[in-house]
């Protein structure tokens, strides 16, 4: 039995790692997974680079930023043999800001909501600018939040202030009035709605579809090839288990345990089913693509690298012309172990 320490941030899309560790998929492949929950992305990244954890549930853009040397501690070539899930983010605004924007005009669809938000913010005038939070500078949350604001004619660099709050602290920040809205992963949007302090303005998948949101990443060479293969096989089986609606109740209660997310399983169940309560008035935003597990989506797609680099450039995080980033970014996404597993599994 090989012991692997895997770090994660408390989010629904850590499901595949948690299920692999807790529902027997890892042991079946000769692995003993020790899970380490971390409060924030910078801490998880540091523990990964220092070898305190062997592999991590990591934001895909953070993995790329580390590999190309944009993030402190890098460049370190990270390699991801498995994508942990597709999508799963949403933009939420405070109840007060929602009331203000709903009074401005239509609220059907992200573009209409963003346009109304733009009107509401202009009406607020030049006082204190509205503050929105993302989970980390290098994250799809940053890029989705910026895209959402632009839909409403809001300049993310000039018209609002964008700050950073780690996912588990997001709801507290909204409650304290430190932020007026945020983009965060499941289940924290739903927790804000459930507490009556926030309203989901848009699902992430309606702003940018088909994002390989989180990767299972490790520094290149850290895991022996045989260990990587076993891990990918275990995660692939766990992913199919997570994707099966028949296991929804079990998965929700597993993730809900205090040592993992510590969230009411009923809330987790709704986000796993892609039926999110957007407002306490009963409005539901439903899309099966909201957060997806199972099938080929777990194959790391090197095509995501160019997309991430372009989004980083749009956000002013890197010079668009820096071609030196292309190759190390692409190398993060390693589909070979997935393909090898698929080959073995073929009848």
């Amino acid at each position: 039995m090989t012991e692997l320490r895997i770090g994660y941030v408390p989010l629904t899309d850590a499901a595949v790692v948690i299920a692999a560790a807790e529902r027997g998929f890892a042991t079946r492949h000769g692995l003993s997974l020790v899970l380490e929950r971390e409060p924030s992305w910078a801490t998880l990244r540091d523990k990964l680079l220092l070898g305190i954890v062997d592999a991590a549930h990591l934001l895909a853009p953070l993995a790329v930023a580390t590999a190309v040397g944009l993030s402190p501690g890098g460049p370190v070539p990270l390699v991801a043999p498995f994508c942990l899930g597709l999508n799963g983010n949403a933009v939420t605004v405070s109840a007060a800001l929602w009331a203000a924007l709903a009074a401005e005009g239509p609220i059907d669809g992200p573009a209409a909501v963003a346009t109304s938000l733009g009107r509401a913010l202009r009406r607020r005038g030049a006082g204190r600018p509205a503050t929105f939070a993302t989970v980390f500078p290098f994250s799809f949350h940053t890029y989705q939040l910026r895209a959402f604001l632009r839909l409403g004619g809001i300049d993310p660099d000039r018209d609002v202030r964008i700050t950073v709050v780690p996912p588990p602290y997001m709801v507290d920040a909204l409650r304290a009035g430190a932020v007026d809205g945020f983009c965060v992963g499941s289940p924290w949007n739903s927790v804000a709605v459930e507490s009556g302090i926030g309203r989901i303005a848009s699902l992430g998948c309606h702003l940018m579809p088909d994002l390989q949101e989180k990767l299972l990443a490790a520094p290149r060479g850290r895991l022996a090839p045989s260990v990587t293969d076993a891990l990918v096989a275990a995660l692939a089986e766990a992913a199919e288990w997570c994707a099966d609606p028949a296991n929804g109740a079990d998965l929700a209660s597993l993730l809900g345990e205090a040592r993992h997310l510590g969230i009411d399983p009923a809330i987790l169940r709704r986000t796993l089913d892609g039926r999110l309560l957007a407002d306490r008035d009963g409005t539901v935003l439903a899309d099966p693509a909201y957060l997806r597990f199972g099938g080929d989506l777990h194959r790391p797609d090197p095509g995501q690298a160019a997309r991430i680099l372009a989004l980083m450039a749009e956000a002013g995080q890197r010079a668009p012309a820096d071609v030196a980033h292309a190759e190390p970014a692409r190398a993060v996404f390693d589909p070979a172990p997935w393909a090898a597993r698929a080959g073995c599994a073929a009848p």
């Binding site: 992305w41 910078a42 540091d46 680079l49 220092l50 402190p72 500078p137 964008i162 950073v164």
Partner: protein, 195 residues
């Protein structure tokens, strides 16, 4: 000795720990040590202080914000690299064990940074030890109080002396393989229920 001309910022929500770290850094010869107690106006404070080294609690939620600030502020012009640069594994591990993360201005001599981190590690660990001792002292005091209370109850109920009451509690604890304070607590609790 750390370079005395350096400015070190300590970002810590825990004022007691921050004070201990600050004192340690000063004692080691650093004249400019600035404690930033919260994240309100963090960017403005950092620009004002213009630190060469930032020491921050590893698990602080402000760390991610700090990294964002390095990107948007003029601090980018003086690139800030994290101390965690893999060149000195022992120091890094000691820092992480102690719960410290640090950011340093690029180009600072590693041995200077190391001496600062070493001081911070010592102080973080000293603070953790102090807290442990405080917790232990508190629970010891509470235990003594509950034993006193149980003795008093027994003396009244059974008409025994203080010494005999203590003997009864001790015998019970030994027979059941439990702590004296646990037996005393059980007695006090059941007395309160019956009262």
């Amino acid at each position: 000795m750390p370079n005395t001309e350096l400015t070190v910022a300590v970002i810590d929500l825990n004022p007691a720990r921050a004070a201990i770290v600050e004192e340690g850094l000063r004692a080691s010869g650093i004249r400019e040590v600035v404690v930033i107690p919260d994240t309100a106006g963090l960017l403005a404070r950092l620009q004002e202080v213009d630190p060469d080294v930032v020491v921050i609690d590893l698990d602080s939620p402000s760390r991610d914000l700090l990294e964002q600030l390095f990107h948007v502020s003029r601090l980018v012009e003086r690139p800030v690299a994290m101390f965690v640069d893999r060149s000195d594994a022992a120091t890094m591990e000691a820092a992480v064990d102690a719960g410290i993360s640090a950011y340093v201005v690029d180009g600072l001599k590693p041995e200077r940074v190391k001496s600062i981190i070493d001081v911070a590690v010592l102080r973080f660990n000293a603070f953790a030890k102090l807290q442990r001792e405080l917790t232990e002292a508190r629970s010891e005091l509470a235990a003594r109080k509950v034993v006193e209370r149980a003795k008093g109850l027994l003396m009244k109920a059974k008409g025994v002396t203080e010494e005999e009451a203590y003997g009864l509690l001790r015998r019970k604890a030994m027979n059941e393989g439990r702590k004296l304070a646990e037996i005393a607590q059980a007695l006090v609790t059941s007395f309160e229920l019956l009262e």
